[in-house]
């Protein structure tokens, strides 16, 4: 039997406890153990940014973290952004309005990265936006509208995201 550890993590505001192998990546924990498949796994080595989540309010590649490292932490995934099923999070709404997504594969990572950016810089310049998004790849190459969406989200939220 592989060694398993009890972990206790707050995911999207809800406490969960599971016994996991130390080698289980946080991305796989979210997707396979908790069914939170909104977090996408692209490259699985920290290059594409699709699996970005917030860990204790800081952005992190969930494929570059072990689940055991998140023991005691609070994790926010794309499923935890909107406050209710009826109303999108302001950043999600801005992506919708500005056509900031095409196939949607990279979108969860883009949204989380944007939330982290706007919490740090309420009014980012285009250069700030592009630098912040540089760690998130969009293979539809819809970057122009993604940048527009972030700008729109920044204007609408004024740092309160």
């Amino acid at each position: 039997m592989p060694d398993r550890r009890m972990v206790s993590v707050i995911v999207n505001g809800r406490g969960v406890e599971r016994a996991v192998e130390p080698r289980l990546l946080l991305s796989d924990f979210l997707r396979h153990e908790l069914g939170l498949t909104g977090t996408h796994v692209g490259c699985e080595h920290g290059v594409c940014g699709a699996c970005t989540v917030l860990v204790d309010d800081q952005p992190a590649r969930s494929c570059l973290m072990l689940t055991v490292q998140a023991d005691g932490a609070s994790v926010t995934t794309v499923e935890g952004l909107a406050s209710s099923p009826e109303k999108l999070h302001p950043v999600q709404q801005a992506f919708w309005d500005a056509h900031g997504l095409q196939c949607g594969f990279c979108t969860a990572g883009m949204l989380i990265t944007t939330v982290a950016l706007l919490r740090e810089h309420g009014a980012p310049s285009d250069a700030d936006i592009r630098a912040a998004l540089s760690g998130n790849l969009c293979r539809c190459t819809g970057y122009q509208n993604i940048v527009k969406a972030v700008r729109l989200a920044a204007e609408r939220t004024n740092g309160r995201v």
Partner: protein, 306 residues
């Protein structure tokens, strides 16, 4: 891919971590921020029997004023360095270079100690540590020892660390007055490892460069200090010395070619970036020492991107 199986411990103190390493027969890996090690595990390029996770040792995370300089604990996150006013005020080279380390999500996890101990030949912080004359303290079963950064880096992904030792502290001496510093690098995509990066620190005294340090990354197995170029810059008319300094840098390096860039291109880039970084460092030194009129006039005459 997924990591292979390993045993895992997350000690709460440095002593416990050293104990775990001491009993692992060299089959352990230290997990700091994980931004380089976990990809290696995912690719199964690394297959340690034991992972010693330092993330639950609070005593290793700090940025403190110490002996006139700045002390940074090995587990201090890159993002914490980026946000730290003490770094912004007193270590401008580090403040500038840390922003080039990966991306925001990488810097939120990645640590100063992990970056240095991993010793990627194209990473920013090893070159910065050498340029700033950092002193690195290592803890091990035989006690503590302190090494100059220049002696810490030994080659491609290789440092002076023994398998049972842990890098615990980085001390940066105070930057001298009238010093200007600059970090410049070029990468094809923002956040990638640099094709070439350069750290420059220049100190002015009575209108001349009295001290120079130039360290490059991406052009060898470890940070390359361009001593010949430093010698060219010190003393005399700065105007006549920029091009010879860049030539000295090109002459001192022998970079490898790879899929990203040829040897010739990297060599060319090293010269161009060095010249620009010297220019910027001089401007910044002048901002602190406006009396250095000869340097100011020389800068005004020189084109920025010669």
């Amino acid at each position: 891919m997924k990591p292979p199986s390993f045993e895992y411990v997350a000690p709460r103190t440095l002593d416990e971590a050293l104990e775990a390493l001491a009993t692992s027969n060299g089959e352990a890996k230290i997990l700091a921020g994980g931004q380089s090690l976990i990809p290696l595990l995912n690719f199964r390029l690394a297959r340690p029997r034991l992972l010693v996770d330092l993330n639950r040792i609070p005593e290793l995370g700090y940025i403190d004023d110490r002996d006139g300089g700045l002390a940074i604990g090995a587990m201090t996150r890159d993002a914490a360095v980026e946000r730290e006013p003490l770094v912004r005020e007193r270590m401008p080279l580090l403040d500038e270079a840390i922003r080039w380390v990966g991306h925001a999500a990488i810097r939120a996890r990645g640590t100063v100690g992990g970056n240095l101990a991993h010793a990627d030949p194209a990473a920013e912080l090893p070159a910065v540590a050498v340029c700033l004359g950092a002193e690195l303290t290592i803890a091990g079963p035989r006690g503590r020892r302190t090494l100059a950064a220049e002696d810490f880096f030994q080659g491609y992904l290789t440092t002076a660390l023994q398998p049972d030792e842990i890098l615990v502290d980085v001390w940066l001496p105070a930057v001298a007055p009238s010093t200007g510093q600059a970090w410049l690098e070029f990468a094809r995509r923002h956040g990638d490892f640099a094709l070439v990066g350069v750290a420059v620190s220049l100190t002015l005294d009575r209108g001349e460069v009295s001290n120079a340090c130039i360290v490059l990354t991406g052009v060898g197995g470890k940070p390359v200090r361009a001593r010949a170029a430093e010698t060219v810059l010190v003393g005399g008319q700065i105007e006549d010395r920029m091009t010879p300094a860049a030539d000295a840098v090109r002459g001192a390096i022998d970079p490898d070619a790879d899929i990203h860039a040829s040897k010739e291109y990297r060599t060319h880039l090293a010269g161009v970036l060095t010249q620009r970084a010297i220019h910027t460092a001089l401007e910044r030194a002048l901002a602190q020492d406006p009396s250095a009129l000869d340097v100011r006039r020389a800068l005004e005459r020189m084109s920025r991107y010669a």
